[in-house]
Every structure is written in structure tokens, then in C-alpha cells.
Symmetry: C2
Subunit: 644 residues, 2 copies
């Protein structure tokens, strides 16, 4: 795909600066897909202690989809299922009392892993680095970027020239690349060079202290995430691996009369403060692993790229308080969003204009994050016990996923907050990738947001199904690994009803000029019969789900040859699901698709839904998909029949 056999050795597909979460996610994806990468970091080694540590539920899904989850879990991270709130007692007495707890990912969110995973960033970095090394990429350390230019007129294929050097000046390199990525954190050299400004959503700046250590305490919630407000100040408690606990404490705010962003506090001062806040409970430190004080404000980069050759992501684009544990997760998703789009463009599948969707999709999320960060702070500091109790009651284990009857504004905000922080609330607005009423693909077969639960721009919905070929019960949404391909989920409904529609789907997909055929593998004839996900095309993986018990399905008999080729991706929708207890075909029901006639969902390589169409006899289904892909692909698709 991206081999550079005839290029000079200093030509790379991409130069990635910074080996924190955003840089590592980007380089891990691109390395797996065969790109030539120069990845540098100005630190001599991965983060030894401290820094970010929260992996949200949706990020854990992503790590699993990459096959990295078990390596993360092998470090035995702490898992936060609930958050506890501690406040001064209403009696006016001294001390603190627990005023409530709530789930960090309540059951109304259909999460596989309804908890936050807490592990220090260095361990997570090492998991990525090990994977990179398997794919032949070494992070070059401690090296730094000293300059770059980007000009397609000088070199249309490799327009970026980058100068890097060893931090002690003992070596330097000059590199040509197709792309440059700045994942250097808040003080991005690349962003500064591009003269991209930062907009501060909230003018207030803060100084935070953060301390990781092992404590001895009788405070009962030391293994929980806690927000503690007392007359003596406020802290946040976050449990960690290896019996550690992290304390966040606010040291100064620009709202203080004597605010000084350089204000600091010693370890002893923070510990003394924590002791006062936790009274009547006691706390003693057995060990401090890491302590840091840093000023932080809410800021968002005005642009993520100027020319779609030099990109920014992660903390280089957005800074905010550490409270909600969103930093690493947002960084992962920035990188994922960019990675597959670079791949789609560089492999000749998508038009270069696809890259223009990176900034709006991800900047919108960052803005939501900053809004949320503000609200979250207010929520934590102002809500009273009764509200917390109301939330707890209203969001208690709801088996069928029905909304509770009484849903006040506060609960609504709580719910959307939970959705957002879990990562499941992230959604991308309408564009060429995310179908809407204004999308060029218009057809009676397109299912709009009201017609199905699968929503363009939102994540695909989880479902258990039985893989037909080996009777394994599997998580449908995890069946296609992060391979850079679009995922076609063909929900076949009842085989007796949909047989002709399935044949027509396959026949039209196989037609010359269809989205599927236009991007067929040139080496298709030589592909091993063991190839599971990309037998025909590197850009598509197809899964078929039939609303029938496994034992009633005979793949070779019930499906057309194109789908039979994906024999390891054929599923029986025959698993009971507590969220749709009365459904005959639970996965169909969860997706909001007709259990008899099914439907086809196109899911982007990053797991977000692109378009959902009816599974109809004739060519309309594939015509609509041709029009959808035609809106961002390099080739004219579908011929006459695509003119809807």
C-alpha cells in the first residue's frame, strides 16, 4: 500500500513528533497499515510516573479492537465504577459526610466495560511502543523538532521538510515526508511555528497539584473516585494500580485576589491540606511516587491544520482541567480519526478532501469537552444531596434501557455528561461521511435518524451474536479489528424473507463500478482462503447477521457467494439480551432494524456509523451505497444507476 521502495532513505510517509497517547495511537495505526514512520520524542524514555491515567469505557473498546486491551489489563489497573461525593454535614458540624454516589458509566449506557480504567500513562505508552516495535517502528529519543516547511509546489508528493535533532545537539537529520503530526502536548512547537492561536473558552486559569502515592487511611472511599468539599478546601481522590491513590488539589485560581500562575505548594503543604480536608478521617503517606504542580487553563487551538499536510492533535489542540479524566481519551480519538483518513487518502480510496473532515469532527468534540469541563466543575461544587439522590434513583439499573419517567434538567445533564465522559456520547456532525438529509446520497432506502437506532456520526451499537461457523458467542462490534476498512454490517433479517434481497445486494456489489468492485484488491486471486476480513478489497470488511437460530443457518445454502466468502463473519442473531428481553432477534432490535427485513449499516473504520439503508430487492440498496461512497471516494461509482 505504502511501500517506499524507490524513495531516498530520508523520505517518510509521516513524521510524528511526541510519543504520548496521541502520537503513539497515530503511529501504531499507521505502522500496522504499512506506512513508513519517523517518530520522535524529546524525552529519553516513556513517562516514568504520573501524568494522565484514565481510560474511559469507549477507549477500552478501542484498545480491545486493536488487540491491546489485555496488555493494558495485565498491569492490574484500578477500575472506577462509581464516584462518591463528600461534603460538609448539613448539621453544620465540622468534617465531611458522603452525600451520595453515582455510577461513572450507568446502566442506561450500553457499555461492555462500564468503568474507568486507571493506570499511569507510562504503562499505557509501553503497550503501544511494544506493538510499534513488532511493526518495525522505534521511537527515536531524545530527539526534537527544530524546524519544518510544507510546500506542495516544491514536492507535490512529499511536500513537508522537517529538521530534527538530538536534544544534546549531537546529531541532526533532514527529512522529507508526506505529513507531519504535532502531538507534543500543550506547548507545541509545531503549533507555535504555524502561528495558530489558542482560544480560551473560560478565562479562568488554575494551578493544580497532583500527587500519586500509597497511603494509610480510615477514609472508607479511598478505593473510589471521590470529590471532597470541606470547609478546609477541596480535593479529588482517584484510585490507582498497586494500592496507589492520586489526589488532585486546586492550589490557586485566577479568581483569587492574589492569583499568581507560578504559585506552588510543597508535598508537605499538600499533604497537610489533604489531612485537614479529610477530617474526621486520618491519612498518612507511606510513599509518594509522583508529585507535580502545574498551571492550566481551558484552551482550544484555533486550527488543527492549515494545509492538511501538517496536523495537530491531543493536548496541542485542547487543554482543560484533569478532573474528568478525558485527556488521554480525547487524544486517542483525535489520532484514530486522523489515522484512518490519512490511510484512506494515501491508499487511493478517498479524495484528499476527506482530510478536511478531521478538524471539524475533532474540534467540535474538544469544544464539547471544554463546555463539559465547565459544567462538571459547577456540578461538583454546587449540587446538593437531594439532586444526587434523585439521579441515583432515576438512573438505577434500568434493565430495558427505558428512560425513567421523571427526567428533570439536572438528570438530563447528568445523563449526557455520563455519555460524554464514557466516550459513547461522542458524535460527529453531518458531512460526507455521516449521512444526513443534506447528504448527496438521497434515496428512499436510506433510514434516517428516526427510522433506526443507528445514528450516523454516532458509535455502532453493541450486540451479542453467535458466529455460525464455530458457534462462538461474540461481541458483534468487535468482530472486525481496527484494520482501516469500512465495515458493512448486513442485517439479513429472516432468511426466508430476505433471500432475494441478499442475492441482489451481492450481485450489485459485484457489478463493475460499484463501491465494492471499484476498490477490489488487484491481488484478489492470490489471496489466501484463510484471509478473513479483506478477501476482496482492502477497504471493506463485510459481516452478515441473520435473524435465525445458528442451527438453522447453512452459510453455503443461505447466502450468496460474495457473503459466503466472509464465512467467518456470518452470525446468528439468536442471543437473548436483557435490554430487549422480548425481541426474537435482539441484535436487530437493538439496532432498531426490522427483524424480518433487516438493513445494511455502513460503519466507518473508527466505529462510527456512516449510513444505514434498507435491505431491499433490486439495486436501490447498492445504488444508495454507491452514492454515499461516491461523495468522498476517488472514483465515480455506480454508473447510471448511481444517479438517484
Amino acid at each position: 500500500m505504502a511501500t517506499q521502495t524507490e524513495k531516498p532513505s530520508n523520505y517518510y510517509d509521516i513524521v510524528i513528533v511526541g510519543a504520548g497517547p496521541v502520537g503513539l495511537m497515530l503511529s501504531t495505526c499507521l505502522a500496522r497499515w504499512g506506512y513508513k514512520i519517523k517518530h520522535i520524542d524529546n524525552r529519553a524514555e516513556p513517562t516514568p510516573t504520573g501524568r494522565a491515567d484514565g481510560v474511559q469505557p469507549r477507549s477500552l473498546d478501542l484498545l480491545r479492537n486493536m488487540g491491546l486491551k489485555s496488555a493494558i489489563m495485565a498491569y492490574k489497573p484500578a477500575r472506577v465504577y462509581e464516584v462518591a461525593f463528600w461534603d460538609p454535614p448539613k448539621t453544620g458540624n465540622a468534617g465531611i459526610v458522603r452525600t451520595g454516589t453515582w455510577a461513572s458509566c450507568p446502566s442506561f449506557i450500553d457499555a461492555r466495560y462500564p468503568f474507568t480504567t486507571l493506570l499511569h500513562q507510562g504503562m499505557i505508552e509501553r503497550v503501544f511502543i511494544a506493538d510499534l516495535e513488532k511493526n518495525g517502528v522505534q521511537v527515536q529519543r531524545p530527539w526534537t523538532i527544530t524546524g519544518f516547511t510544507s510546500d506542495e509546489k516544491v514536492n507535490p508528493e512529499y511536500p513537508v521538510e522537517v529538521q530534527i535533532e538530538h536534544v544534546d545537539g549531537t546529531g541532526s537529520e533532514n527529512i522529507r515526508a508526506k505529513y507531519l503530526f504535532g502531538g507534543e502536548g500543550a506547548r507545541s512547537f509545531i503549533r507555535d511555528q504555524l502561528k495558530i492561536g489558542i482560544t480560551h473558552k473560560d478565562p479562568i486559569a488554575y494551578v493544580w497539584g497532583v500527587m500519586d502515592g500509597v497511603v494509610r487511611t480510615d477514609f472508607p472511599d479511598i478505593k473510589m473516585k471521590c470529590t471532597i468539599h470541606s470547609e478546609q478546601g477541596s480535593i479529588m481522590v482517584i484510585p490507582r494500580e498497586d494500592n496507589m491513590v492520586r489526589l488532585y488539589i486546586q492550589i490557586a485560581s485566577s479568581t483569587d485576589a492574589d492569583f499568581n500562575p507560578r504559585k506552588t505548594a510543597t508535598i508537605e503543604e499538600v499533604q497537610a491540606s489533604a489531612k485537614r480536608i479529610l477530617q474526621p478521617y486520618t491519612i498518612e503517606w507511606e510513599r509518594v511516587e509522583w508529585y507535580s504542580v502545574y498551571p492550566i487553563g481551558q484552551g482550544i487551538s484555533d486550527k488543527y491544520t492549515l494545509d492538511h499536510r501538517v496536523f495537530l492533535g491531543g493536548d496541542a489542540c485542547h487543554t482543560h482541567s484533569p478532573k474528568a479524566g478525558q485527556g488521554m481519551n480525547t487524544a486517542f480519538l483525535d489520532a484514530l480519526n486522523l489515522a484512518w483518513k490519512l490511510h484512506a487518502v494515501e491508499s487511493g480510496f478517498a479524495s484528499r478532501s476527506l482530510l478536511e473532515t478531521y478538524e471539524p469532527e475533532r474540534k467540535e468534540v474538544a469544544e464539547t469537552l471544554l463546555d463539559f469541563d465547565n459544567k462538571y466543575a459547577r456540578l461538583f461544587s454546587q449540587r446538593a444531596t437531594s439532586d444526587v439522590a434523585a439521579v441515583t434513583a432515576a438512573t438505577a439499573d434500568v434493565p430495558t434501557g427505558n428512560a425513567p419517567e421523571e427526567e428533570n434538567e439536572f438528570i438530563k445533564m447528568f445523563k449526557s455528561s455520563c455519555e460524554f465522559t464514557s466516550g459513547y456520547g461522542v458524535f460527529y456532525k453531518a458531512n460526507a461521511l455521516n449521512w444526513s438529509a443534506t447528504h448527496p446520497a438521497q434515496s428512499h432506502v436510506v433510514l434516517d435518524a428516526a427510522a433506526t437506532r443507528l445514528q450516523p456520526g454516532r458509535l455502532f451499537i453493541n450486540a451479542n451474536v453467535t458466529r455460525v461457523i464455530d458457534a462462538n458467542v461474540v461481541h458483534l462490534e468487535q468482530e472486525v479489528p481496527l484494520n482501516g476498512s469500512f465495515r458493512l454490517f448486513v442485517f439479513g433479517g429472516a432468511p426466508a424473507v430476505s433471500a432475494q434481497a441478499l442475492r441482489d445486494l451481492a450481485a450489485n456489489m459485484a457489478r463493475k463500478g460499484s463501491f465494492y468492485q471499484a476498490y477490489a484488491r488487484p491481488d484478489a486471486a492470490a489471496v489466501s482462503h484463510h484471509e478473513r476480513h479483506n478477501p476482496h478489497s482492502l477497504f471493506f470488511t463485510v459481516c452478515t447477521v441473520l435473524a435465525a437460530p445458528r442451527s438453522a443457518i447453512e452459510i453455503a445454502r443461505d447466502l450468496p457467494a460474495l457473503l459466503v466468502r466472509y464465512r467467518e463473519n456470518v452470525y446468528a442473531d439468536d442471543r437473548w439480551d436483557r435490554r430487549v428481553p422480548d425481541a426474537k432477534a435482539a441484535a436487530h432490535a437493538k439496532m432498531g432494524l426490522d427483524q424480518e427485513r433487516g438493513g445494511v449499516a455502513v460503519v466507518r473504520p473508527d466505529g462510527h456509523v456512516g449510513i444505514v439503508v434498507k435491505l431491499e430487492e433490486g439495486s436501490a440498496t447498492v445504488d444508495a451505497l454507491n452514492a454515499y461512497f461516491g461523495s468522498f471516494c476517488t472514483k465515480k461509482l455506480g454508473g447510471d444507476s448511481a444517479q438517484l
Copy 2:
């Protein structure tokens, strides 16, 4: 516990011969518990290919309990959820047709992992070897045993003398040990030296061919476990990791007129035979990884030990057909059974007579296995389609665990077979460890088999609960790792009802001379407050489960200090369970315990239930436990109050 600081360097706690599954499980357990081990194997390296490959559901629980499951799963083993049966068509036509499938671990078995995990033995060995090395034990290879004697008169503490040497004769050692274990497989040198005979349950011997390889076929069930009978012969298909498949084929039987145990077949002959059997489907080999032909009969060792110093386990004790995938699992459980008993005796907890329970407990299982092996063969070869259909219908997803109404003999046998092969059916008969009406501990508080679902000698029952301290949803049965300790599960019922009973339980456990206090850690005062499972005693870990929502439980308020110390092992029984959908406290309900008043279950270190007693106010509960432990412990327990 077992340090040897003043002993000569050639003194060991145990010499283990053979580094297959039985030897590795034994040595891994004992190494973790601090014993000095000499472990030898006459092969130069772990099994490179082939051999045993089936890990049954209960074994996977065990591996998880040891923290080894993820390392096994990292090899991406195949998972068998269902078995398919193929027979000649009833029409009398040539070829084969699928006559039915059934679950290998149907839903009436409450398994966490309802599938067989298939992975070649060498990978499993490597996981154990890596763990051993963490604990300082290296398997010494290729070394073999050349002789041994055992005489307590010569040396009462180290009665066993063992001679070992390098297989090429370049080195030899003379060792003194407390124990010698023979895990050398069917041709055990140690068994032969002890002149222990083999009893053949079934006089018929077979010659089997087994082939691992990668195939290309249109046979639809190649990823399933299949039993295929055709006019051309019979084979068994077992899927494997890395797209491999294993074929078992019977080459000769002593019932053949011209039987010769040395009869063999070439790879090409077996492949040609498989091709004939699979018709009308085609099969071609892309690669053969391993091929072996071996004669096997059903045999069981007459004794597992003569003097309780030299023990046998695994294939040295029992041989049978490979069909049901039981070999490795039975080996694991032989070793586990012996390991904790050796530990209990050597650490001064249990009387030496405890070792006398190893042979009867494990030999009974081996006998059941051989009976089963016979029945299984008949079942596979004789059952007709209608029976298979009946089984499928009768055992289809039964949410509440109720028995189907019509349950004929065949279904009963099928069910007990599934239970047995999954490992959940293994049970140990009444003895000092497994309470019965004839046990010395007799009290009105003991719950007999009719009064609870927890049955002495059977495995503890799975349940989801919420850990109070951090709100993590956990698998109760996995909360205590394989630490050699007895597990006390205190089901506290409703806190308001049981408060006094819990206080009395703790007070009587803390009394001088109680089972708990008599085996207190001498270093208890110096134990870290982070010690989770053994704060007071190395022989007991206590878990408390309250029938209340997590948010209503305040550990320090609701429990007596002894149980508070196990703050990380306190659980809320507040998770819904599909098997007891109407229960308020599902874990209590699944155990068959009163949801208001609870009960106490003593679980052996190997996960089998020992005794179940009521949680009653006063001393009767602890008195009964004193009497139970007093029947096999080294100390007189409970004083006067233990005389029931």
C-alpha cells in the same frame, strides 16, 4: 513456611519428575507457596507440537484463579462451544449429513466460560514455566530419574532419596526430599519401581492416529468439534489455534480380527482415509504440523501412593481415549488436589492423615472418567438423530436453570456427561474434608445437602456481587486467589437481621482455641495494612456478602472488626442474575441460602465446598466449624464448646 535455611543444598521439599501439565501445576502451586523444588524433565524442551490440547471450562476457572488465564488466551486458542454430529444420510445415499449439534457446556451448567479452549500443550506448558521462573524454579532438562528410596526410619523429615542424571549421562545428583512426585506420563518409571499395577477397566485397546495441520476444505463444520461416522470410517475433528485443525482417526482396535498394537498408518494413508470419510466434501492439507500414531487402552493405576511420600498423578495414574479432551484437565486437578494438601500438612495446619484423602478423591474421578470414556464412545457411535434432537430441545437455553419437564435416561446421561466433561461435575465423596451425616462435626447448624444448593465435595457456585470498597462488579468465586487458604464465605443475609449473629461469629472466631485463632499468623502485628487475603492467618481468607445494595453498606458500621479487616473482601449481593430473576439477593439465592439470615460456607483451597452452616446467634456456628476443622487439623480446637 518452608524455608530450608539450615539444610544441605541437596535437600528439597519435593522432587517432581515430568514437566507436563500435572508436574507443572504441582510445581507452580508449591513454588508460589514458598517450597524448595527440584523439577526435572527428560525432554530437552517443552512440548514443541501436538499432544493434549483441551482446556475445559472448570480448568479455565482454575487458570484464572491462578492469574494465568490471560497468558493462555494471548495465544488465541480456538473455542469450542458446540459439537456437531455427522452420519451417513438415512436415505441410504453415500456421503455424510449433519444429524445434530449440541452445546459442549450447555446453559444448564452455570459456567463462566461455557466452551472448551483448544491450544497445544507446549504453549500451556510455557505459561506455567514462565510463572515458575518468576518464583525461582527452573525445570532441569533433559534430566531423568534413575532411582529412589523412601524410608522415614532413615530420615523422618526427608525420607525420600532420589537419584537423577542427565539423559546423556554427563551429570548426576543425589537428592534428599520430603516428597517425590511422578508426573512422567503413562510409562512412569516411579510407578514401575513401586510395582504398582494397572487395572484395565475396558479390555479393548486401540491404535489412534492424530494429525494437526492446516487444511483447505468446503466441509462447513471445520471450525467445530465434530464426530463424523461414515461408511468409510470415523474421525473426530477438533479446531485449533492458528487456523489449524486436529483429526483423530482410529487405526486399529483389539476387537479387529487381525489386531496388532503396532499397526500404524502413514500421513498419506490417514489423509486418504479422511478424504473418503468426508465425502462429498473435499479436504486438502496445506501443512501438517504434527502427526503421531499411538496405542492406547483404558488403564488406571491401582494405587496413587504407597507411603504418602511418593505420589503419582496425571497419565501415570490413568490412561484413556483422547476423545473427550479430559487428559490435561484431570492432570491439573490431580496436582491441585495434592498441592494444597501437601501445603496444609507441611505448614503445620493439617494432620499428616490429610494426605490419605488424595488417592480416594482423585482415583474416584479417574474411575468416573474411564466409565464416561466408555459411555461417550457408545453415545457417539450409537445414538440416532432423534435422540440428538431431543437433547437439543431439552437443553436449549433454560434461563432459570429449571430442569426440562421431560427428562429421559438419555438426556440425564447427556447432562451428567456435560457436567463431568466441563469439570463442574467433579465431586469428592464424604470424608473429613467433605461434610456428611457421618462427619464428626454434628450440629443443628450444619446445612445438609437438602437444605442448600452448596454441596460438600462439589464446587462452590458462581455469583456476581458488588465489592463494597470500590463498587467493582466481581465474580465472587474468583475473589480469593489460589493462595492455599481455606475460604470462608460469610453470607450475612440482611444486615438488620444478622448483625448480632455476625458479631457472635467474629467474637467466637477470635476466641483462643478457635479454628481461626489457633492458626493465627505469628507475625500478625507486623502484617501490612495492604495485605488483603491473609491478614490474620495464612490458612484462612474470609469474604463477607451482605444482602443489601452497596450504597446501604458501611463496612465499619455494619461489620465486626474481624470482618472489617477484610474490607476488600466485603460484597453487596445486589446484582441481578438471570438464573434467579426474582431473587432480591441473587448470590444468596443461587447458593440456596436464606436471604435474610444467610449462612457460612467453608470452601477448600481447591474451590470445593467443605461444609455449610447456618449463621446463628451464639457460639453454635463457630462450634460447628471448630468441629469440622478439628477433624483434620493438628490442634485440638474449640475447647469445651467444641464437644457438640
